[in-house]
Amino acid sequence: MSNADQRTDVSEGSSGDEYAVSVPEGRGRDRDADGEASTIIESRDLSVWYNDNQALRSVSMEIPEKRVTAMVGPSGCGKSTYLRSINRMNDLIDAARVEGEMLFNGKNVYDDDVDPVALRRRIGMVFQQPNPFPKSIYDNVAYGLRLQDRTENLDEKVEQALRKAALWDEVKDQLDQSGLDLSGGQQQRLCIARAIAVDPEVVLMDEPASALDPVATSKIEDLIDEMAEEYTVVIVTHNMQQAARISDKTAVFLTGGELVEFDDTEKIFENPENERVEDYITGKFG
């Protein structure tokens, strides 16, 4: 299967040890040669309330397939809320209420006939704080597969996922040790391995590197770059340079839950249309 071959290539090509010191001007990725990507996620007039507070105001955007889309903006601007409304994690909060549409492969995930549990099995998620389970490394990666009863060739799938997360070489001799014994950066890569072990189509990342040191951050960024070969990555970040380095598209949210500008990362960082976006990016506020 060509898909499997591609995966092996990805794992072998990992360059986890490199550490980019310089922050490139504009975006660091060059995926334009692939041509225009098709849309996998699209929101139409999506609004979210927490009780009476409106966290998102009628956001419409199209997220391209197998690209890295970054969401930036100041605290409380709704970028995390947007991310969590893609895989309906907001359902877990009693007070949250959603209006508008969130289309995933053309289907509104808020339709009555969509099972949020089944949805989340196709849209993986990585959180701000590394949160491995207090189980062995192996059991952490196998967690999602076991949930879905996909336990044939489990060893192989666990190895694949760890390789793709650039963690295999570091942990292959200690798979039965607790995931909590790893360093913070390794824990976060373990969480990424856990998320991609079930072969999701989309991986959502909520500030995945904000709790990590610069070296670990750089490894995660390299990893995200490679993941975009195979998965659609949507990442929320506080760090403007990070968005510039790793993303193809950037969405800028500003206070009040408004999507102010959404465009190619290059354009956002070099020539934003909105004045407030320019002020935010150049550090005049936020």
């Binding site: 196709r122 993986g124 959180f127 949160n131 389970f133 967690y143």
Partner: protein, 529 residues
């Protein structure tokens, strides 16, 4: 320079110091009062002053001095060394206490043949469940459940009768080896196998099974009794041996801490030998073997009276209370924390559970009387009625402590699980309950140790005296606190106040404190992780 210094002046702290002293006094007031009382009671119960001075001196030299010396040395070495030694001392003692209680059940209450027949009857569906889980199959869940239930009911109806009509049956202690030794050998063998490798697991499993049989033989030859021999081997010797093995194998730097229990055991034995050889008389303690095993309730001679019926009654009550209150309480806690929506109704339930925990125990007794005796028509004072009443009493405590344990599971763990596409049930089973388990266990033990001391509800449901050792589910029972109550009231004689009553208090408090110490150990052990 000195002028500048004097210029600061001084600020009075007299009131602050006084306040601090008052606070300190109020901290100590309760503890000191209780401590004085306990010393008084313990003195009446154990009567250390009746022993020869030589007896005290001998044990001081062989036991107390070496223990203090080694303990101090361990502490100097490292705190971990000392705790290893203390645990190595306390574990066998507490385990032996509970093994003794278990042996009492099999000697007096549960006919071993009936026990064997039900174990066999339940082993059949258990084997079916394991078999179903192992095989690859596409059987719908409900069909599986129905099969298992049908097999369970069928085997419970048929097998006990079959087993009990067998022409030859194994001896009592052999039954224990079969029904308790084999499962323990399998469980611990697997656990050790996972920890240290397959071969060691097999060795351990075989050793446990063989050791339990040896325990039975030793028990028979020493006059201890075969059943206590097996129980002590399985539930005191095996855990102790396992602990020693774990320390020796995985904590080499703490291995030396095991010197402490060795010194204590060795010192006690040496002291005993010396005292016997030199002819020193020990204290004429009221807490002795006769007191623990006598079933006599009243009479002029306090020396003939014993607490055995109360001990057995309490053990049985604890089983019934745990069987009712723990599943229901933990279930309620999981529902309230993980499933219940935040509505007015759940808030009302919330507040009321906290109130239930504060309802006086005599009210629960009246509730039990009304519900189980008057309404359900059960006879008064039986094991089931008493256990169910005490279960009602501790139910809110189990709920509250379990909820706290569940709430302490970090939300990020749940998010991780839901984010992977887990259902609520999968998240509760795989993430929430395993992490909350130590806390739930601690809370449950503390709730049981509350139930162990309750007297009022049992009085109200009609167990106003101690009826001797129970032998079935509907025989009337007593309990340790009730035993104390009747010695202080119904059967009271002036001779009792300073003799058996004091001894009974010591036994009851020992049981309670051992449970509390287990709870505290479990909590601390898992908090360090």
């Amino acid at each position: 320079m000195s002028e500048a210094y004097e210029g600061f002046g001084r600020v009075s702290r007299r009131i602050g110091t006084l306040f601090r002293g008052v606070l300190f006094a109020s901290t100590l007031a309760g503890i000191l009062t209780l401590a004085v009382l306990l010393v008084y009671v313990a003195n009446d119960a154990v009567r250390p002053l009746t022993a020869d001075p030589g007896w005290h001196l001998t044990f001081f030299l062989t036991l107390v001095l070496p223990t203090i010396g080694v303990g101090w040395w361990s502490y100097q070495r490292s705190y971990g060394t000392l705790t290893t030694g203390l645990l190595g001392t306390v574990l066998p003692a507490v385990a032996a206490l509970y093994a003794g209680g278990l042996a009492a059940l099999f000697i007096d209450v549960i006919p071993t043949l009936v026990w064997l027949s039900f174990v066999v009857a339940l082993a059949v569906p258990a084997a079916l469940v394991v078999g179903l889980a192992r095989t690859d199959r596409d059987v719908p869940f409900l069909a599986e459940l129905a099969t298992v239930l049908a097999v369970t009911v069928g085997s419970l109806l048929v097998i006990p009768g079959l087993v009990q009509s067998l022409p030859t049956v194994p001896a009592d202690w052999m039954v224990l080896v079969l029904t308790l030794g084999i499962p323990e050998a399998i469980l611990l063998g697997r656990w050790i196998g996972g920890r240290w490798g397959r071969r060691d697991g097999w060795i351990a499993g075989v050793a446990i099974l063989f050791g339990s049989a040896v325990g039975g033989v030793i028990g028979m030859t020493t006059g201890l009794g075969a059943i206590p021999g097996v129980a002590l081997a399985l539930f005191a010797a095996v855990p102790t041996g396992l602990y020693v093995a774990i320390v020796a194998r995985e904590r080499p730097e703490r291995r030396i801490g095991l010197l402490l229990p060795a010194v204590i055991v060795g010192g006690a034995l040496a002291g005993e030998l010396l005292v016997g050889a030199l002819g020193f008389a020990g204290p004429e303690s009221w807490v002795d073997w006769g007191f623990l095993t006598s079933t006599v309730q009243r009479g002029a001679d306090p020396g003939a009276v014993g607490i055995y019926s109360g001990v057995v009654g309490t053990i049985l009550l604890m089983f019934v209370v745990a069987a009712i209150a723990v599943p229901a309480g933990v279930g309620a806690a999981v529902y309230l924390e993980e499933y219940a929506p935040d509505t007015t109704l759940t808030r009302i339930i919330d507040v009321n559970i906290s109130n239930l925990a504060g309802v006086p125990s005599v009210v629960y007794g009246l509730l039990g009387l009304g519900l189980f005796v008057r309404y359900a028509g059960q006879p008064t004072g039986t094991l089931l009625v008493g256990g169910a009443t005490l279960a009602l009493l501790v139910f809110p405590i189990v709920i509250i402590s379990s909820r706290e344990a569940i709430r302490a599971v970090p939300d990020s763990a749940r998010q991780a699980s839901y984010g992977m596409g887990a259902t609520r049930w999968q998240t509760v089973k795989n993430v929430v309950l395993p992490r909350a388990f130590p806390g739930i266990l601690t809370g449950t033990i503390l709730a049981l140790s509350r139930a162990i001391g309750e007297t009022a509800p049992l009085l109200v449901i009609g167990a106003a005296q101690v009826f001797g050792v129970p032998n079935s589910w509907d025989s009337a029972i007593g309990a340790m606190p009730l035993q104390l109550y009747v010695w202080a009231s119904t059967y009271a004689s002036p001779a009792f106040y300073t003799t058996v009553l004091a001894a009974g208090i010591v036994v009851l408090l020992t049981a309670m404190l051992s449970m509390n110490s287990i709870a505290i150990y479990v909590r601390n052990h898992y908090e360090q992780r």
